[in-house]
């Protein structure tokens, strides 16, 4: 039901509108929204839309092998292109299977529009075949959702869904569309006439606060920039301006897992990722700083460690587009509600206009302290001639990628390999790193790589995976084969759910409960069975050859890298500890094993 005012306004416009079926409206709205690729899986309650899809050629449908895969593929597509990802699934199990992807998109602020079929309106509530209360189920895992009961509301809802999904803090929006509404004829309101202005989040910063922030940054003696996924979401210009601003200040910068790539990792000012498996220098700098500039990050528990001991001496500036992120976990001194891009651009302009200069002496002292922390060389590991260390495998991958002419995109699954990928691979550009940060969804990487490859046909897309995670959405191999997507799956196969094993070793008295991945498939044969290429590296000296071969294939390729089984991911801040209590690989025996 829409308001009387809105209804009147819309009625005035409907005189100019076309009549069409609900299913046709979906296609029409997608085209108007600039969507040319959607991901989905057909089923009874969504067949009218699939019928409409069949009769046009503007929107390409990618048939995934599971609705979860479709949702993650749409996420990968969205994150690597900056466009909104679109998912089309049927009612009941189609919708419930998509829920993990929706929740993932909510936690990582990815713009998705998911259209779910629903049983006809007159059957809703009757426990009909493949009926589920989709709006009820998805209410807590979407930014917003709709159940469309009248075809005349549909086109406006479609346009509003895209508006809500992509503006402010992006997120997933579900449109639950009963089958009779898909068949029914109604008035189509085009994008220009749609009324979507009810939702208008604040994106422009308070300039007084920005002035104050720049003044704090300029006067800081021990500053640090701590940036997150918000900078990536704000578009490539935000990353460009951030890079320029940070370079002008000469301050150190670190980023969350989600924010990697916003600032080029090859720059001297880059400290590496922070948080639980972040670098020693980034975490110590966070702990000891006097001014913290948090842009588009949200003080997640994996970032802060013990809140009570989190960066005790700093003045904190927090720029976030979502007012509820501010003061949620850490109370800050200078909150600024704004789009990260607008805020960075404004700060950069003021810095230039007022010709701010940093306190160079203090900054030099701060850098020498940081260099001391850097000299610890926290990512070092003990290499071996006989067993492939996962870190070594990634270093070799990094070496080969550095010679690549193609644009390289990395996706990951979730676990140790994800952290090692974040630590060892270089991220120089935004939108080139797709990983499930907030929700930590195993099985994310392969479908996300598929979406990424579709959005970037000339790119080189590599899914850094673990052997346990990859099996969670392995069926998407078929999708990659069907659409000739030469995605590379680089499995660091240690035959364990590595991160679970690591926690059990360090925190649960070495009782390895259910974390050994028994009865693994032969990944080479598995790749071949799907019609892809399978490769294997058993020893360190085989690695280079296998990586070179992988980079040459034009088909989906699984590389089974048999790695050391007992390697742990360090450095590590044990949960509930502070940044300055982090543990290095060399001191692993100092780990407080009483901590649970």
């Amino acid at each position: 039901m829409i308001s009387a005012v809105k209804e009147k306004a819309l009625a005035a416009k409907t005189s100019k509108t076309k009549k069409m079926s609900g299913a046709e409206m979906v296609i029409e709205a997608l085209v108007e929204q600039g969507i040319d690729t959607i991901f989905g899986y057909p089923g009874g309650a969504v067949l009218p839309i699939y019928d409409a899809l069949f009769q046009q050629n503007k929107v390409k449908h990618i048939l995934c092998r599971h609705e979860q895969g479709a949702a993650h593929a749409a996420e990968g597509y969205a994150r690597s292109t900056g466009k909104t990802g679109v998912v089309l699934v049927t009612s009941g199990p189609g919708a419930t299977n998509a829920v993990t992807g929706l929740t993932d998109a909510l936690l990582d602020s990815i713009p998705l529009v998911c259209i779910t079929g629903q049983v006809p309106t007159f059957l809703i509530g009757n426990d009909a075949f493949q009926e589920a209360d989709t709006t009820g189920i998805t209410r807590p895992c979407t930014k917003h959702n709709y159940l469309v009961k009248d075809v005349n509301d549909l086109s406006n809802i479609l346009h509003e869904a895209f508006h809500i999904s992509g503006s402010g803090r992006p997120g997933p929006v579900v449109i639950d569309l009963p089958k009779d509404v898909q068949f029914a004829e109604g008035n189509y309101i085009n994008k220009a006439n749609a009324i979507t202005h009810m939702y208008q989040p604040q994106t422009e910063p308070d300039m007084m606060a920005i002035e104050e922030a720049v003044r704090l940054i300029a006067n800081a003696k021990k500053p640090i920039f701590y940036t997150g996924g918000g900078v990536i979401n704000a578009g490539p210009k935000a990353s460009k301006d951030l890079t320029e601003f940070v370079k002008k200040t000469g301050h150190p910068i670190t980023s969350t897992l989600m924010g990697l790539g916003a600032f080029p990792a090859h720059e001297e000012q880059w400290l590496g990722m922070l948080g639980m498996h972040g670098t020693y220098e980034a975490n110590w700098a966070m702990h000891d700083c006097d001014v913290m500039v948090c842009i588009g990050a949200r003080f997640d528990d994996r970032i802060t460690g013990d809140i009570a001991k989190f960066s005790p001496k700093s003045k904190k500036i927090h720029i976030d587009i979502d007012p509820s992120s501010i003061n949620k976990i850490v109370s800050v001194d200078l909150p600024i509600v704004a789009d990260a891009g607008s805020a960075i651009t404004a700060m950069l302009k003021i810095w230039k206009d007022k010709k701010y200069k940093v306190n160079q002496d203090a900054l030099n002292r701060w850098w020498s302290k940081i260099d001391e922390w850097r000299s610890v060389n926290c990512l070092s590991y003990k290499n071996s001639d006989t067993i492939i260390k996962p870190q070594f495998a990634l270093e070799r991958l990094r070496h080969h990628l550095s010679k690549q002419k193609k644009d390289v995109f990395i996706t990951t699954e979730v676990g140790q390999h994800q952290m090692w990928a974040a630590q060892f691979l270089p991220f120089d550009k935004p939108n080139h790193w797709m990983t499930s940060g907030g929700l930590g969804t195993m099985g994310y990487g392969l479908p996300a790589a598929i979406g990424t490859q579709l959005g970037n046909p000339d790119g080189l897309v590599i899914d850094v995976a673990g052997e346990a995670s990859i099996l969670m959405n392995i069926q998407e191999m078929s999708t990659a084969v069907q659409y000739n997507l030469p995605v590379k799956i680089f499995i660091l196969n240690n035959q364990w759910m590595g991160m679970v094993r690591q926690w059990q070793e360090l925190l649960h008295g070495e009782r390895y409960s259910q974390s050994y991945t028994e009865s693994l498939p032969d990944f080479v044969k598995l790749a071949e069975a799907y019609g892809g290429v399978g490769l294997r590296a058993d020893t360190p000296d085989e690695l280079d050859g296998v990586i070179e071969q992988m980079l040459k294939t034009d088909k989906v390729t699984i590389v089974d890298v048999r790695t050391c089984q007992s390697e742990n991911c360090f450095p590590m801040i044990p949960s509930g500890k502070a940044h300055n209590e982090m543990i290095l690989a060399a001191d692993a025996d100092k780990f407080d094993k009483k901590l649970v």
Binding site: L147, D301, I307, D322
Partner: protein, 185 residues
């Protein structure tokens, strides 16, 4: 190994927020009157573990199809602040006013109280009802239904008085609230 009952700090998630001062705030929330809006608000409270003491809602503007909710929430100041921001984040929510924070406001609740009794008790119930300016809205030889309006405290006091006089049922609306003075909320 998890040692229960010991200090909480052995948990990987560290210590909880501990015992900070709990406050009680009245929030006035202007929402679109559309299906599911109440579920969104309720879901927010249950999903994020916020405590709600009272919630009332009804349509207040037919033309704009808007309803006003009055929510009484309890929590630490930081939690109350979060509740407000999280409510503002919901798409059908237009405006949230923390009336407790913003200054003077009026809060009223209505209760219907059924009292069963005869003789002295019946007379006493009627007498007390008069003191509280409760109206009799239904009456039989052996029962009254009183309608009492006022702050939650007043309603509580009235109910306490009626319990020994044979109160059998009570039905309360929860608080509705509005700011004092000429300013629009």
């Amino acid at each position: 190994m998890v040692v229960k009952g010991k200090k909480q700090s052995i948990s990987v998630y560290g210590d909880g927020p501990g015992d900070r001062a709990i406050e009680r705030h009245t929030l006035s929330v202007l929402v679109d009157n559309e299906p599911g809006v109440l579920a969104r608000v309720i879901g927010l409270f249950s999903g994020r573990g916020y405590n709600i003491e009272s919630l009332t809602v009804a349509e207040t503007n037919k033309e704009l199809n808007q309803s006003r909710m009055t929510i009484i929430a309890v929590g630490t100041p930081a939690v109350i602040d979060q509740i407000r921001h999280q409510l503002e984040r919901l798409v059908p929510v237009h405006r949230v006013n923390d009336l407790t924070e913003e200054g003077d406001h009026v809060e009223r609740e209505l209760a219907l109280v059924k009292v069963v009794g005869t003789d002295e008790k019946r007379i006493e119930a009627l007498r007390s009802a008069n003191i509280f300016r409760a109206r009799v809205v239904d009456s039989t030889q052996e029962s009254f239904v009183f309608e009492v309006t006022g702050s939650a405290d007043k309603v509580n006091a009235f109910i306490d008085l009626m319990i020994p006089l044979g109160m059998v049922n009570v039905s309360r609306t929860g608080s509705a609230a509005i700011s004092r003075g000429p300013d629009k909320m």
